[in-house]
Symmetry: C2
Amino acid sequence: MREAALRLFAQEGYAAVSMRRIAAEVGVQAGALYNYTPDKQTLLFDLMRAHMEDLLAAWDDLPPEGCARAALETFTRFHIRFNTGRADAVFVSYMELRNLEPANFAVIEGLRRDYETRLEMILRRGVAEGTFAVTEPRIAAMALIAMLTGVNTWFRARGRLSLAEVEALYWDMVRKAVAV
Amino acid sequence: MREAALRLFAQEGYAAVSMRRIAAEVGVQAGALYNYTPDKQTLLFDLMRAHMEDLLAAWDDLPPEGCARAALETFTRFHIRFNTGRADAVFVSYMELRNLEPANFAVIEGLRRDYETRLEMILRRGVAEGTFAVTEPRIAAMALIAMLTGVNTWFRARGRLSLAEVEALYWDMVRKAVAV
DNA sequence: GTCTATATTCTGATAGAC
DNA sequence: GTCTATCAGAATATAGAC
């Protein structure tokens, strides 16, 4: 059910997809879905929370780097690789924020801020080490994440460029963007 | 009607907003809206096309710059200023692409590609002049546009930073990202 | 050009049989 | 745990009075 819902929400939007449509995709009747989620809103919220928590857990599981520059490269490559592998979840977690009830919205926003803070701290460390020139680390973090997430709008796994080549291209821009 | 529709589509999403809701916002009954648009889909399409055409026209109206570096600074500041001033239209034109019928989608996508090409050509010129180091100008253009458009997710006109300060912050990153 | 009224279809969610 | 059947309301769009 979650797989079908994620795919349909990404393709057509939360509001445009009915529970009947999700059920048909799964191969059951609409009523059966309510054995797995109390309602449609909770289904959306659970999908978004699972994605954000997976993202944070995957990053926190990586071994810590030495210098800030190494950490920034790791972050850049991690973000691209993780997000291109879950395009539907990334799309839904960004596009459907406005369809969350206020309490659910606050939770997802908190997780998003946590993730931005991971990058912000790397940038601050680089400034302290003298290798980065960034006057507004929080804003730079949001700008870099926006740039990296944008890969999802055009990247195709069987396209001209491999994931490794894309990582290298973006790392080159990120590296220079924060350079002294 | 268009103002109300744009605001509501941005806040709640195309699929989640009914014609009755737009009519109520305007102060008429739902039936009256059909004197101004043949249907809801055309209303969405017209809003998106008008935004993209305004964007292209506004850019093309700017006087041409001399060197590529000057053109890139002009583009950076133009994009931030134009988009922060029309947050609803930017949001709808990106988020509601999936709710366009195929023929309408193709038109909007074409306009988007036209805009990306404007930046791509600046980057190519900079490479030719020897002032930029960009191996994939098309991808760099998409990456920079994604970063710049991301301003809209956090910028508030009455926030800590003025628009001029934001422009300067982003220009600093853009300038370095494509530097030799 | 706006109104009221309506046709038709779909919506999220629930009840109860099995 | 899935099914059928259903409730109550909302959706887009249209018709015709004024």
